[in-house]
Amino acid sequence: MSTDLVRGWVGRTRPINKYVSLATISFRQAINYRAALFVNISLTFLWVIVVYHLWRAAYAGRPLFAGYTWEDMRTYVVLAYGINALVGWRIGSLMMSTIRTGEIAIDMVRPLDYCGSQLARSAGYSVVEGMLGMALTLVVGILFLGIRPPHSAGEAALFILSLLLGFLIKSLLVFCISLIMFWTTNGFGVMLAQEAVIQVLSGALVPIALMPEALRVVASVLPMRGIVATPVNIYLGHSSGTDAALQLGLQALWVVVLAVLASLAWRRAFRRVEIQGG
């Protein structure tokens, strides 16, 4: 072999972390589905537009709702939908179809942690669908809907940290829910239910502070609030200093709890595996 050819070798020379390569592969797959990306973003915007107009009408008669000014609220609406789309429809349905189609058999013989590899794939998709969607949401939001930037660089940094914890919370939740596919083969219905529940309890639909008592209590104690409400409130400066630290700690705690739950649930589900056909 000539030295030129050797020098031209651009493949990997050292082993890359297994999970990083899984994430890279799903990242490349996601780039191929531009139509899905387009739909994902547009559908997100559809609701943003509706909710934006409803709140605008409400603020015409009053300056403040539960401490949110109109500027806060429109920023909340745009950000909340962008963040909720970080872990989108396709990540959930892919996790489910792995189980439904029996593809899981291959995952099970790999020397990888099943939950870990699903999270890695989810991260790859999120970078393309979620981040791009969110970037677009922010650009449109700032240009046309008058949303405001974060107060300070420190707040922005805390926001990003909170966003990452929120990503882990939602991915772990979606993972746990995807295990239901061991008991039913109807992923569509489960996906619809999951999206709806997360949309409400994460605070993506409305800020938790505005909810009627009963719903507010439920939303406050469940982990879903860490997906949307916590990062957005940090961004808006509604949660800062000690409170912000407390909220971030709570998010981290939920990540640990959900990770333990996920591995327990997976162990239980593992015993149910029956691969159809072969």
Binding site: A35, V39, L46, I49, H53, T184, N186, L192, L205, L210
Partner: protein, 268 residues
């Protein structure tokens, strides 16, 4: 087509739909999972109303009960297309797989066969939720009851159903021209009905015109203005819903004729 023929086609159509529903229900667990999922999905906008109206008492003159009527009507116009004509969503798949050949050779109008080729259990969920929302709304809102109130609602739901069926068919027919067409555009267009769930007056400028001509306002907004005896002269557009439905259905029919003639098969 003679009278007997029309009856025979309709009877076959109903039978095909029932068969679809039956096959869906044979996987009982799955069937109910879908229905629960759909009910939760559509409840999201009702939850929004609940929270929103815990903060404000009215929105541009609309109370929470008025809004429940509006949303109930929209949900019903979503329910029937799922139940009686979900096959439009199957068209892309059927054309690309060559299944559409079968539709063309059987002795029944192809468009009816196609529409009947699938039934979405989702319709049952929307039917339940829509009826409940409409019922609650009607029992609390200040409805200007008259002899024509009920016929008006029936007419609105029927027209709305035809409007949605036509829109779904038109957007999904793209596959006749471009076999690579995906469901992105049809999905997006059909999801725009979210706009119809709220009073037109909250939107402004271009968006208001867009929602009106799409024609989402004819689904439930204009008819509910008449029902609630509210709004200016534009409320009379509520009576135009059947005309809009007829217009859209005619457009769909013409496009269908052109599309089917364009269809080449996949080469068996």
């Amino acid at each position: 087509m003679g009278h007997g023929r029309v009856r025979q086609v309709l009877r076959t159509y109903v039978r095909m739909q029932l068969a679809q529903l039956q096959s869906g229900m044979s996987h009982r667990g799955d069937f109910w999972v879908t229905i629960v999922g759909v009910i939760l999905q559509q409840s999201v906008s009702l939850v929004f109303l609940w929270v929103f109206f815990s903060q404000v008492t009215e929105l541009g003159g609309w109370s929470v009960w008025d809004m429940a009527i509006l949303q109930g009507l929209v949900l019903l116009t979503m329910a029937f297309p799922d139940l009686v004509g979900d096959g439009s969503w199957q068209l892309r798949f059927d054309v690309n797989q060559g299944n559409f050949d079968r539709v063309l050779v059987r002795p029944m109008p192809p468009v009816m066969q196609q529409a009947a080729s699938r039934t979405a259990g989702a319709g049952v969920g929307n039917l339940l939720l829509g009826t409940v929302a409409l019922g609650i709304g009607l029992s609390h809102a200040a409805v200007a009851w008259a002899w024509w109130s009920i016929p008006l609602m029936v007419l609105a739901v029927l027209s709305g159903t035809v409007i949605q069926l036509s829109i779904n068919l038109i957007t999904n027919m793209g596959v006749f021209w471009d076999p690579g067409a995906n469901t992105a555009i049809p999905t997006l267009v059909s999801r725009m009905r979210e706009f119809a769930k709220f009073p037109l007056t909250i939107y402004d400028g271009a968006l208001r015109i867009f929602v009106t001509i799409l024609p989402l306002s004819f689904l439930a907004y204009f008819p509910s203005l008449l029902l609630l005896d509210r709004g200016g002269p534009e409320r009379w557009l509520g009576l135009a819903s059947p005309l809009v439905a007829l217009l859209l259905a005619s457009i769909a029919a013409v496009l269908w004729r052109i599309g089917v003639n364009k269809y080449q098969g996949v080469g068996h």
